[in-house]
Amino acid sequence: MQATDIGDPEYFHRVVECQWACPAHTNVPEYIRLIAQGRYSDAYMVNRESNVFPGILGRTCDRPCEPACRRERVDGSPVAICRLKRVASDLRDDITDQLPKAPEEKNGKRVACIGTGPASLAVANDLMPLGYHVTIFEAASEPGGLMRTSIPSFRLPAQVLEDEIGYIVDMGVEVHYDSPVTSLGTLLGDGYDAVFIGSGAPRGKDLEIEGRHDDPAHVHIGLDWLKSVAFGHISSIGERVLVIGVGNTAMDCCRTARRLGGGDVKIMARRPRQYFKASPWELEDAEEEQVEIVVNHAPRRFVTENGRLVGMEFDVLEWDEQARHSRKLDTVFLPCDDVILAIGQENAFPWVERDLGLEFTDEGLPVVDAVTMQTTLAGVFVGGDAAFGPKNIIWAVAHGHEAAISIDNHCRGIPADDRPSAQMSLTSQKMGLTEWSYSNDYNPSARQQMAHVDLTKRFQELRLEVELGFSAEQTMREVQRCLNCDVQPVFRAPLCIECDACIDICPVACLTITRDAESESELRSMLTVAADNLEEPLYISEPLAQTGRIMVKDEDLCVHCGLCAERCPTAAWNMEKFDLRLGRAGIGALL
């Protein structure tokens, strides 16, 4: 077998599962260690470097890192990465002097961004320090896009939003509020060197069934309704509320409804619970607030009496095993005072003229390169929900970073696909004979549970943040659950004397010295514990000096405890911290 090339930044990146799964590739283990040391500001800055909005994401992220977390495979629950991010944000000192600054002398290039959501802000964050003049056009009177309008403030306090947006805007970004872009053609005519579309997917889907428009005052589109609540235009709702939909927006709608006077709030779902789109924790939070979840009910019609909505009729369904086909069992009437529709959101580009050369897919999305975020129109880039439909904030940030590289390239006359390469380093963590610069012991603590504000209290004040954040004790326990997947056991074959010490000590039997195999599948079956998880790579050494056998490590099982390196008499195994430096606008060029 070919020996593993650990000089390829991608190899160890895959092993750091959280960082690999994060669209913005946040260096999670590093910031968790910094939190453990009480270095909250440094932890915040490590976060900010890749995800730009640690405070916002520490409350609202969709957390693709957590299902990927190695700890999940070990004891069934991942490290509470998102919660720890919030700890770093909440406990940081003033970090303004560590923020990137825009140079006084500009580079003469002007970039226009559409929308002040996370994608555009990430673009501005990356381009301002390079001397670009960035102008953002925002339709609303305040920045943040859907982060402000569709995430209720009891989940994301306005102050957190303002602080983190401020860090970017205060670099000197020119923001035009109440300025919807009504024509891309006109904007292009203004002579910008590049345009970034980060306008999101702002239109909530409607439900065109019988009676939909009979009492429009009491049937609300979820996104619009949340926005009206956010801006203070709506402050009450009826006693009985039906929320149609099973995504995170539906959860936000029903929880908001509970705070505005909704006493009997129901989530109405067509399909069984395991098919809900909402993140499990958001569903739990809704249930904690006494929202009833009604499954297998498909909306049939709105029922009005004398022009006033009185309820809805639903078909009661029975589904087959995979919930692909349903059978109607019954029709029921559920009384209500208001209905909120949260059945999805759409992109809307009425302001993009179709003759500019910017092509759209059949689904109405712009044709965009998934790596460079380049549209079919030179100099026009797109990211966030506007690019591929509704995703979440962390994806928008990732798109923003990539688009910033492309915009920088475009303005310097370099092809968009000429990306700055990723860099990596490996640094020995050895501090003594059996001493490491990280806490290598396995801590059996269970995942810490987030404490919430009392139910009665949270319904009294609309904007009161529900989650209290981790206590010092919880933080202390949770940081120790991290397995430090970035501290890699690195093997140097010429030093190995094949004494088996590492294999004997390994608590998870992830190491094997074996004869070479013909194929990877054969090798996987030959290991101490057969390597069944094909998602995880094998770390294969060069042939060993004495017998010509090979050392193989199954990355699936390793818990990075460092015992192999401690028991190695020749330091053929050593624990080394993998640090990944991804290319960013302007940074790759410097290296």
């Binding site: 059996t434 059996p444 004397i497 294999i503 998870v508 514990v529 004495q546 099982l557 015992l563 008499p569």
Partner: protein, 351 residues
């Protein structure tokens, strides 16, 4: 000594043996031996053998004397009984324990100092008596605990860490055991668990004393060029005589050499050892041939490993001495101590 205890990580896929235990249930405390010590590999092989044989951990008795080797007993099977005796006295203590309670697996761990120098006399007699035990000699050719002087098993010409060569003839435990009429004689290498684990499993099933001379390099004082007990030297000179494969089955009968070169030997309690002999005519049931073969290999500078000799028919300590079938601890008091009248009758029988 590692900075942390080997963590107990709840792996769902951890295999269980016939009595529902995982391999971790056969471990002991953390080793304080040097990193890379061959003895730790022997420990790991014992842990694996006990696990694979599904031996109840409390049915094991760990016996040892003094030396790096004798620390090994602390590092496996925490639930076992044990006795850490004076230097060289592992064999007599094991003999006594064996006589008092035959209902346990006795694992004696000794070294070249403990068994071939100070305890040589005791080992010799334990072999003669065919004490029902596994007798492991962790053989590294040096006194590691006292910083690397030559031991009684150091080969002539083998160099110490600072260069001087040994000039005194070595004691070879394999030849010694063969000449004393041992019923089970094996040699293995700590760096070769594929061979060591089946040998240990066969030894655990053997009726009588199963002597295993395990070449177990001392990384600190005897793993250099010039040493004949270094990882490299053993790997370069090992003559892997036979590849044993222990099969724990029902009652099989001793089989003759079949045409494919594999030999089956049934152990006392029904287990089966299959030998795949490299020279097609090697017969590990022929003592004379075994001695001849080992001698010749030594003359060529080779280290023959494998189960070199086995004879299940030799009476063991219990048969020879008519020891109690049930452990003394389980005998009713009246039987254990029949009283003065019985004693008088017994004494009269000599008159």
């Amino acid at each position: 000594m590692p900075s942390i205890k080997k963590p107990l990580i709840p792996l769902a896929a951890m295999p269980k043996n016939d009595i529902g235990l995982t391999i971790r249930d056969y471990e002991g405390s953390m080793s304080t031996l040097c990193a890379g010590c061959g003895h730790d590999s022997v420990t790991a092989a014992i842990v694996r053998a006990l696990f694979e044989l599904s031996i109840p951990p409390h049915k094991v008795v760990k016996m040892s004397g003094i030396g790096c080797s004798s620390k090994t007993t602390a590092y496996f099977d925490s639930a076992a009984h044990g006795f850490n005796s004076a230097h060289g006295r592992m064999a007599p203590i094991a003999t006594g324990a064996n006589a008092a309670n035959r209902d346990a697996l006795y694992i004696g761990i000794s070294g070249d100092g403990d068994s071939l120098s100070i305890g040589a006399g005791h080992m010799v007699h334990a072999i003669r008596r065919n004490v029902h035990m596994v007798y492991v000699i962790e053989n590294n050719g040096v006194y590691g605990l006292t910083k690397g002087q030559f031991s009684a098993s150091a080969d002539i010409g083998s160099a110490a860490k600072h260069g001087e060569a040994n000039t005194v003839a070595p004691v070879d435990p394999v030849m010694l055991a063969l000449s004393l009429g041992a019923s089970f004689v094996a040699r293995s290498f700590s760096g070769d668990k594929e061979q060591l684990v089946p040998i240990l499993k066969a030894a655990a099933q053997h009726r009588g004393l199963a002597l295993i001379d395990v070449i177990s390099p001392c990384v600190q004082f005897n793993n250099h060029y010039g040493s004949t007990k270094s990882y490299r030297y053993v790997r370069e000179h090992e003559l892997r005589e036979i590849e044993p494969d222990f099969i724990s089955t029902g009652r099989e009968i001793v089989a003759d050499l079949p045409h494919d070169g594999a030999l089956m030997v049934a152990m006392h309690d029904g287990g089966l050892v299959r030998f795949r002999t490299l020279p097609a005519d090697y017969d590990p049931t022929d003592r004379e041939a075994a001695m001849h073969y080992v001698n010749q290999a030594h003359a060529r500078g080779e280290i023959p490993t494998g189960l070199l000799f086995v004879d299940e028919s030799i009476p063991d300590v219990h048969e020879l001495n008519h020891t109690s079938e049930s452990p003394l601890v389980e005998l009713p008091f009246e039987e254990l101590c029949p009283g003065s009248a019985e004693l008088e009758d017994f004494q009269k029988s000599f008159v």
